[in-house]
């Protein structure tokens, strides 16, 4: 049923999942969150994972991030890089200023103080928050906090970015501008020869069509790859463009068929 566009397990992939299974709990209470999910993400590729809530999307990202262990199958991250993970909530440390939040991963990587300072300034400029380094997270709006979270994740200098419904809690206008920014950042990195691979989870089909090179559809309980499609729309894109809408309509149809089969 799956229309795989790349061969799972290929050595050149930035992220390679082969038959990944995740079971929570044991015995009668066991929940199969993921069932033999295979997926290859090429370096510099932007993949959106779409599925109903509870279908195992967060589970999958946690596994790739190494925050949890698989029950079966294997996950390979290219060059053994440690992926950065962004959550739906900014998850900033409220006891630190914005700048100090971004500095945490740099400190943990052992960068000297002078380098850290320059890097924090650079990262905050990247997300257009250069003037907010001394503010505290609670003084910022939701969209700005997510930008800080993005800057903090980028401070890991990782080639792989995992995003778990990062804009799900934002209003539509803020979300649109963050889409633009993420696309700009990602295009810039790929153009500069330091490819950024993005695995982006959402239940918003429009958002997926707006951002992705490739959309991967997951079924519910157990989570399984049921459909994949490339999004061949030129960038920069607009979320309200007819091409994006057409892709979204196609994916929505597939999603409806899937939901219908489950008799919801």
């Amino acid at each position: 049923m799956s229309t795989t566009t790349t061969t799972p397990g290929s050595a050149s992939a930035a992220v390679a999942l082969s038959a990944v299974t995740k079971v929570y709990g044991r015995g009668a209470d066991a929940v199969v969150a993921l069932d033999r999910v295979s997926l290859d993400v090429a370096p510099g590729e932007f993949v959106c994972l779409v599925g109903a809530s509870g279908c195992g999307k967060s589970t999958l990202l946690n596994l790739v991030a190494g925050l949890d262990t698989v029950s079966g199958g294997g996950i390979q991250v290219g060059d053994d890089a440690r992926p950065g993970l962004m959550f739906q909530e900014p998850a900033l440390f409220p006891w630190l200023t914005v700048g100090a939040n971004v500095e945490v991963p740099l400190k943990l990587r052992g960068l000297p103080a002078a380098d850290r300072k320059a890097r924090v300034a650079e990262l905050l400029d990247t997300v257009h928050l250069g003037d907010f380094a001394r503010r505290r997270p609670h003084e910022l709006s939701g969209g700005m906090r997510q930008r800080v979270a993005l800057a903090r994740t980028l401070a890991l200098d990782t080639p792989v970015l995992l995003m778990d419904e990062p804009f799900g809690a934002l209003d539509a206008m803020t979300r649109d501008s963050l889409h633009d920014e993420l696309e700009r950042l990602w295009t810039g990195r790929n153009a500069a020869g330091t490819p950024l691979t993005v695995l982006f989870v959402t239940h918003n089909v429009r958002e997926a069509a707006r951002l992705a090179d490739r959309i991967v559809l997951l079924s519910s309980r157990p989570g399984r790859v049921i459909y994949e499609t490339r999004v061949d729309v030129s960038r920069p894109r607009r979320i309200d463009s007819p091409e994006v809408a057409a892709v979204a309509a196609d994916v929505t149809d597939r999603l409806r068929a899937e939901v219908g089969r489950h008799g919801h």
Binding site: N62, A65, L67, R82, G84, L85, F87, E89, A91, F93, P94, W95, L96, V104, P105, K107, L108, R109, H128, L129, R136, P137, H138, E139, L140, S141, G142, G143, M144, R152, T153, A155, L156, L170, D171, A172, M173, T174, R175, D176, S177, D180, E181, R184
Partner: protein, 287 residues
């Protein structure tokens, strides 16, 4: 990439509205006044009630003096040097006892929060210790250490450490799992996770534990100074005992006021620390 557009993007969408509505700070003077006048009024009413009871002749003046008599005695007390001797002795005991309780409480709390076996073994025992009125320890403490500084120290530490340990355990237990996951993803493992995430996240609960621990330490210390009278020492508690033995009622009340004010002042420090933390974290409405 149009830079002017980027600037506009920074605070865009409905976010912009959210930020604009955050600027309403009343003047500092009026804020302090608003917080103070109810307290002053309550104090005035309490003094008035006291005076009324004295006027009513319920008890003779030598047993229950009025506020004016006590105020005069309090001034004499403050200028006599006895007060400062007492403050020195008692303050030293409080600092050493509470300091030791903090060390014990922090270590114990961290150990129990971290080690499963210790939690199973000690978790409920710490809470049980907390419910034990510390004055009940004194007979044993006096048997163990006689009428000595150690007996007081022993009870002060036993009184305060469980609260502090409980604060630490509570703080560590309730670190938001999301922050832990974020910290781990940012590369904080093991000790670094404690340093960068768990310790700062637990700080408010730890301060609450310290505040409660202080209240217990102060009570234990006063009980100790009344019960364990050490020859030639001039602690606040001893002065209170002497004043009673001499039937010097104004002095009894003066010393009581000193005890009350000292306890309150330290408590105020912890309250201030707590508010400072919560303000930094954005958990208070008013800046």
């Amino acid at each position: 990439m149009a830079t002017d557009q980027l600037a506009a993007d920074t605070i865009s969408g409905l976010d912009a509205l959210e930020i604009a509505s955050q600027q309403k700070v009343p003047g500092r003077g009026s804020r302090i006044w608003a917080a103070t006048w109810p307290k002053l009024t309550a104090l005035a009413l309490a003094l008035l009630a006291w005076q009324v009871v004295v006027w009513s002749g319920w008890k003779p003046e030598y047993a229950l003096p009025g506020p004016v008599t006590v105020a005069k005695d309090l001034r004499a007390y403050a200028t006599s040097g006895a007060l400062w001797d007492g403050l020195l002795t008692t303050g030293q005991r409080a600092a050493i006892g509470f300091g030791a309780a903090v060390a014990v409480g922090l270590l114990l709390g961290l150990a129990v929060a971290r080690v499963k076996v210790l939690r199973a073994a000690l978790g409920s025992m710490i809470t049980a210790l907390q419910t034990m009125p510390s004055i009940a320890w004194f007979p044993l403490a006096i048997l163990l250490f006689q009428l000595s500084e150690q007996a007081i120290f022993f009870v002060v530490v036993l009184g305060a450490a469980p609260s502090i340990a409980n604060g630490v355990i509570h703080g560590v237990d309730y670190v938001p799992p999301l922050l832990l996951r974020a910290g781990r993803n940012l590369g904080a493992r093991g000790l670094n996770l404690y340093r960068y995430v768990i310790a700062p996240a637990a700080l408010p609960a730890i301060v609450a534990g310290l505040k409660q621990g202080w209240a217990f330490a102060w009570r234990s210390l006063m009980a100790g100074e009344l019960l364990v009278v050490i020859a030639k020492s001039t602690s606040i508690g001893v002065q209170l005992t002497y004043a009673r033995e001499l039937s010097d009622a104004p002095r009894v009340i003066s010393v009581m006021i000193v005890i009350l004010v000292l306890g309150l002042l330290v408590d105020l420090l912890f309250t201030k620390a707590d508010r400072a933390i919560r303000r930094r974290w954005g958990l208070l409405d008013r800046g």
